[in-house]
Symmetry: C2
Subunit: 195 residues, 2 copies
Amino acid sequence: MNFLEERICKDGIVKEGNVLKVDSFLNHQLDIALLERMGEEFARRFAGAKIDKILTIEASGIGIACVAARYFSVPVVFAKKARSINIEGEMYIAEVESFTHKCKNQVIVSKKFLSPGEHVLIIDDFLANGCALQGLISIVSQAGAQVEGIGIAIEKGFQSGGRTIRNLGYRLESIAIVDGMDAATGEILFRGQEV
Amino acid sequence: MNFLEERICKDGIVKEGNVLKVDSFLNHQLDIALLERMGEEFARRFAGAKIDKILTIEASGIGIACVAARYFSVPVVFAKKARSINIEGEMYIAEVESFTHKCKNQVIVSKKFLSPGEHVLIIDDFLANGCALQGLISIVSQAGAQVEGIGIAIEKGFQSGGRTIRNLGYRLESIAIVDGMDAATGEILFRGQEV
């Protein structure tokens, strides 16, 4: 098991309905030392890739992206989930369905912060059905920029998001891929990765 | 002028209605090197203070808080702005009015992540009328924890938030305090600080 898988086993909580709660270290309280290790790991996995910018989505992607960005020496842009009077001018917009919140959101990035030809690393905390990620990919594509890679902390491998994205040819690296969970025993099955 | 004031003059945009746009480096696109300098500056200003945890609020506070947390070696907790099915169990809740979005939000922190006796540093990107900050202070107080200090990137000194908080006896450090702005000329007046 890698460091993130170990941490998930130690502090993650499996709930009914395939819910994995990692709010004690990843998406409500944030363990910064863990985020740094994840940043190092993304830097290792995407070594040699040309990356101009990291794109993430509010809110829980921001911490991971900002700490990871130190290892790439690039700025972070975070997509916003609702139209805000503080974003003006031309915007890239994608429609996104949220599994967690059971609603539809617009994902928005100002055109000022993504430019044609830029090489973008997308980073997020979770990948399940992949709706948020598809929205981010759509925005990069609208900008005429290029998705150089996708770095995810935890992928739910038993949902279709990751498979679809890989089938589309994107380079997707998830530090931990959960292939199964048992709420009764708390057991978590991770996919073996050659990395 | 300090490094943040210089950056505000260089890349900030003054708009009608006392709006200061800093979305190219602070709250949509994030300059990570700048965030690191801000983290260092908070560490310098709060040197000697006992800090167990950094508390911030989604979304734009998270990046600043996570990068700053490296200089304090403490975890970050970010307050959420709307009830989420992913937060369960007992929660601290405060009502917050948003000047920017012209609406009311509940600010929520799980009781698991703030404990009685903890020393908390609150960090956020902006302080204007102080509603969000008051909500965070209320939550720390509900937890029986202690606000050790408050670190803000940009304070609008011509709005009442900062004065009120200082009058209440809190130690509030804002890296840049804007005392006036002129949308016609783009001029920004900063408060002199002895730090």
